[in-house]
Subunit: 310 residues, 2 copies
C-alpha cells in the first residue's frame, strides 16, 4: 500500500489530502497561510506538514509514491514558480526545496490546472472526453483537458480565461492593466464591484428569492446577475469557438452558490456560440474546494483509467 | 514505392497532389468545380480524377497507400459531410461513395484542419510544437495543433475562429446570423465590405505604397487596414488566452499579399494578449494554396517525425 499527498497552495490556506493509490481520499486537512510571511519559507512549511502526517500515521518514505502540488502562478518544467505575486513566490524553486526534506517524486502544476484535472478525473468531468474548467474565485482561472491531458500551452498560459476580453466598452482597468477582462465580471471581486458592494452570496441568494428581496439589493442583484451571466456565457462561447470542449465545469468559491450561478448563462451561451457547440452543457463543480487536492494527487497517480467510468 | 493522393475540395477547384511515402509532392493539378452541379456527383468526379492519374502514370491499386481528402463542412467519424452548403454537400457520404471506385484507405478531414496539418508538418509550423492556423479566404476558418495532433473538439467544431465575436458594436449581421464575427473583418469579403468595394489585393498593395496611393483608395486602405489588423490581433489574442499556441500561421487567399497582412496585427496583438503569450509570432503561410493537399496527404502518411525537422 502506497500513499500520495495532494497539496493545494492558496492565498489563505494550504489544503492537504492523503490519498491511496486508487485515488481514494483518506484524510484531508488545511493549514493557514499568511501570504506576507512565506515565499522561501513555503517549501519547509509544506514539507513539514507532510512529515508530521507521515510521523503521526507511521508512514515511511518508501510508502509515499509521491507528492503533487498545485500552486498559483506559472510553474516551469524545473518546478520553479513564476509570478505568484500574491504569495510573494516569484522565482521560487518549490520542488527543489521540498526534495531536500522529502526525497521522492514531487510534481507541481498551476492551481487552476490542478483543479481542472481533479474535476476531470474524479468530479463533474468524469463522464466526458474533454472539458473546460473555469474557476471563479478572487480572480478567474481555468484549465482545459483535451485528448485526456491538460492543455498547458507553449508558454504555460493556456486557459488564462480570466483575461479574455469580453467587454470592449469597459473603462475600469483590470488588475492586468487591460480593460474588459472576464475576471472583472465573473470573479468574487468583480461581482462585488458590479453590484456596488454586495457579496456573491448575497447576489445569488437574492436571485433565488427575488420576490422576497427588497431594495437596494433587489435591483443590484437583477442587474449584476444579468451582467455576470452574459460575460460568463460569452467567455464560454469564445472558449468553445477555439477548443470545443465536451463540457464546461464551473468551480471556485463563486460556484458554491450552486446551479443559479450558471442558470441564465446557459441560456445566453446558446445564442453566443457557434451553432455546432450550442448544446455543450455548463455544469457546477462537484468536488468544490477539494478539486485542487484531487488534481494534485493525480499529478502523481495514474488514476485516469480506473476512475473515469461513466 | 507507394503513392498517396492528397485532395483539397473547394468551391471553385478540386486540387489534387500525388505524393510519395516520404511526403514529397511529385505532381499537383486542379479541376474546376461548378458548385451548383455537384453534391452526390463529387465522389465519382474526384475518384475519376484519381483513376485517370493512376492510369496515366501506370500506378496499380496496390501501389496507392491511401487517399486523404480535405472538404468544407463538418466531417463525422463515418466520413459523412455535414453542412457544406456552398457545395450542396450536406449529408453526403464521401468516403463511402469513393470506396466503391477505389478500394483503399480513404480519410477525410475539414479543409481548414487539413491546411493546418499541412502547414504544421511541412510549412511554417515545422519548427514549432504547437500552432494555431487561421485561413483568411472567402470566409475565415482555422485549425489548432496541440501535442502533435489536430484539436478537433467534442462536436468537431474546434478552431471555428471565423465566428468568434471580436466586435460588440457591429450592426451588420454575419452569414451565421450573429454580429461581430471575426469573418466579418478578416475574410476577403469582409475587407471588401469594410473598404467600400476595394479588393484585399488593392488594400494591401496600397498599404505598401501608401505615399503613392491616391484617394479614395488611400483613405479606404488606411481605415480598412487598421480595422482588419485590430480584429485579426484580437482574434489571435483570444485564441492565445485559450490555447496558447507556439505560433500563429495565417493562410488563405488574403495571406497571399504577404507580410504586410500581419505587420500591424503583430504590434496590436502584444497589447491585447495575456502577457505570458505576448511574444508569440504571427507568420504568413509558407505552403499557400498547397497547404490543403499536403495536409490531406498527411491524413494517410505518417510524415510527422520525418519532416518536422527544424
Amino acid at each position: 500500500m502506497k500513499y500520495i499527498y495532494g497539496i493545494d497552495i492558496g492565498g489563505t490556506f494550504v489544503k492537504l489530502g492523503r490519498f491511496d493509490e486508487t485515488g481514494t481520499l483518506l484524510e484531508k486537512w488545511q493549514l493557514p497561510v499568511d501570504a506576507s510571511k512565506y515565499a522561501e519559507r513555503m517549501a519547509p512549511y509544506v514539507a513539514g506538514a507532510v512529515l508530521v502526517d507521515m510521523e503521526r500515521m507511521g508512514i515511511s518514505e518508501g510508502e509515499v509514491a509521491g507528492i503533487g502540488i498545485g500552486c498559483p502562478g506559472t510553474i516551469d518544467e524545473k518546478g520553479v514558480i513564476h509570478g505568484a505575486e500574491n504569495l510573494q513566490m516569484d522565482q521560487i524553486s518549490m520542488t527543489g526545496s521540498m526534495r531536500r526534506f522529502l526525497p521522492m517524486e514531487i510534481r507541481m502544476e498551476n492551481d487552476a490546472n490542478c483543479a481542472a484535472l481533479g474535476e476531470y478525473i474524479f468530479g463533474e468531468g468524469k463522464a466526458y472526453d474533454s472539458m473546460a474548467f473555469l474557476t471563479l474565485g478572487t480572480g478567474v482561472g481555468g484549465g482545459i483537458i483535451a485528448s485526456g491531458s491538460l492543455l498547458t500551452g507553449a508558454h504555460r498560459c493556456a486557459a488564462e480565461f480570466g483575461h479574455m476580453q469580453v467587454d470592449e466598452a469597459e473603462s475600469t482597468p483590470c488588475s492586468c492593466g487591460r480593460y474588459g477582462c472576464l475576471e472583472q465580471y465573473c470573479s468574487a471581486r468583480g461581482i462585488t464591484r458590479m453590484s456596488g458592494g454586495f457579496s456573491p452570496v448575497e447576489i445569488f441568494t437574492a436571485m433565488q428569492y427575488i420576490d422576497e428581496t427588497t431594495e437596494p439589493l433587489k435591483s443590484a442583484a437583477l442587474r449584476t446577475y444579468e451582467r455576470f451571466s452574459e460575460k460568463l456565457a460569452k467567455g464560454c462561447a469564445l472558449i468553445a469557438d477555439v477548443a470545443d470542449p465536451a463540457v464546461f465545469v464551473i468551480g471556485g468559491g463563486v460556484s458554491n452558490a450552486g446551479d443559479v450561478v450558471v442558470k441564465r448563462a446557459r441560456e445566453l451561451y446558446r445564442t453566443f456560440v457557434y451553432p455546432g457547440a450550442k448544446n455543450t452543457e455548463i455544469r457546477i463543480s462537484k468536488l468544490k474546494n477539494d478539486a485542487g487536492i484531487y488534481g494534485a494527487a493525480a499529478l502523481i497517480g495514474h488514476f485516469s483509467e480506473k476512475n473515469r467510468k461513466v
